[in-house]
Amino acid sequence: MNAATESAVKFDSVLLDWKGAFRLDRLSLPLRSDEDVVALRRHVRERAVGIGLSLVDQTKLITAASELARNTIKYGGGGGAHLDKLADGFRNGVGLVFVDDGPGIPDLDLALRDGYTTGGGLGLGLGGSKRLVDEFDIDTRPGEGTAIAVVKWKR
C-alpha cells in the first residue's frame, strides 16, 4: 500500500481533497488480490449503511467500487483505495479513491465511452461505473498511474 500512497501524492490534490468538502475517517485499503476486493466491498457497505444510503444506492456504490477495484488490480498492477466519509455542509456522502502505479489509460475518452475493453470483458469499462455514482473524477498519466475518485451522496 505504501507505494500506492506515495504515488497518490503525485496526483491532482484536488481529486484527493474532494473539492472543499470535509473528509473524515479515512480508511485506506490495499488492492492486490481477489480477497482484497471482497474486503473492500464489505467496508464500502459499512460506510454506505453508516450514512444511511438507500438500499439501491448502497448496491450501486458497492458495485461501482467492485468494478473500479478490479480495474486497479487487473489493469493497474495493483494499488489501493481510500474510503472517506464526506460532509459538504448540506449532505453526507461516501467518497472512494482508487490509485495505482500502472501504465495509465492512454485514451480516456474511449475508455469512458461504453463498449471499451482491453481485457476481453463485456466492454463496460468505466462508463458503467460512472453512471452508478454521483461524481466521477479521473486523473491518469501514461506510464505513471491512475487515480479515480467517486462520490455517492445521501439523497
Binding site: 471482497v38 448502497q58 448496491t59 450501486k60 458495485t63 468494478e67 478490479r70 463485456l122 463496460l124
Partner: protein, 118 residues
C-alpha cells in the same frame, strides 16, 4: 479450498450462491458447473441468486458464460431470485445478461425449465 455446492435433482443442477464470491471462486463455480453438466448429463441449470445483494460485471460475465457453455452442452440455464436493487444496478451498469433466462423464484424457474424441456 472453498467451493460452492452444486445439487443434482434428476436432470437438473441447482446452485444456490450465498456468499460474497471473490473472482477465483466465481471462476471455480463456472468450471465446476460445466464439468457437472457433462458428468450428470444435465438438461437444466438453476442458479439461485436470491441471497446475492451484489452482482458486478465479473459475476454477470460468469453467469452469461455459464449459460453459453450450458447451451453448447444442450442444457438450459435459468437464473432466479434477483433482488430489485441488483436488477436496477445492472440496468444502470448496462449489463444485459444476454441469453440467460430469468425467473422470480426457484419454483417458477423449475416450471420454466420443465416447460422448455418437454
Amino acid at each position: 479450498m472453498e467451493r460452492i455446492p452444486i445439487l443434482r435433482m434428476g436432470d437438473l443442477l441447482l446452485v444456490t450462491i450465498q456468499v460474497d464470491m471473490h473472482d477465483r471462486l466465481a471462476m471455480t463455480l463456472q468450471d465446476d458447473l460445466t464439468e457437472r453438466i457433462v458428468r450428470d448429463s444435465a438438461k437444466g441449470v438453476l442458479i439461485d441468486i436470491s441471497a446475492l445483494d451484489l452482482v458486478d460485471s465479473f459475476i454477470g460475465r460468469m453467469i452469461s458464460n455459464t449459460a453459453a457453455m450450458a447451451r453448447v452442452l444442450d442444457a438450459q440455464t435459468v437464473v432466479v431470485g434477483m433482488q430489485p436493487a441488483v436488477a436496477i444496478t445492472l440496468v444502470e451498469l448496462g449489463l444485459t445478461l444476454h441469453g440467460v433466462k430469468t425467473a422470480l423464484n426457484v419454483e417458477k424457474g423449475m416450471a420454466l425449465l420443465g416447460k422448455n424441456l418437454n
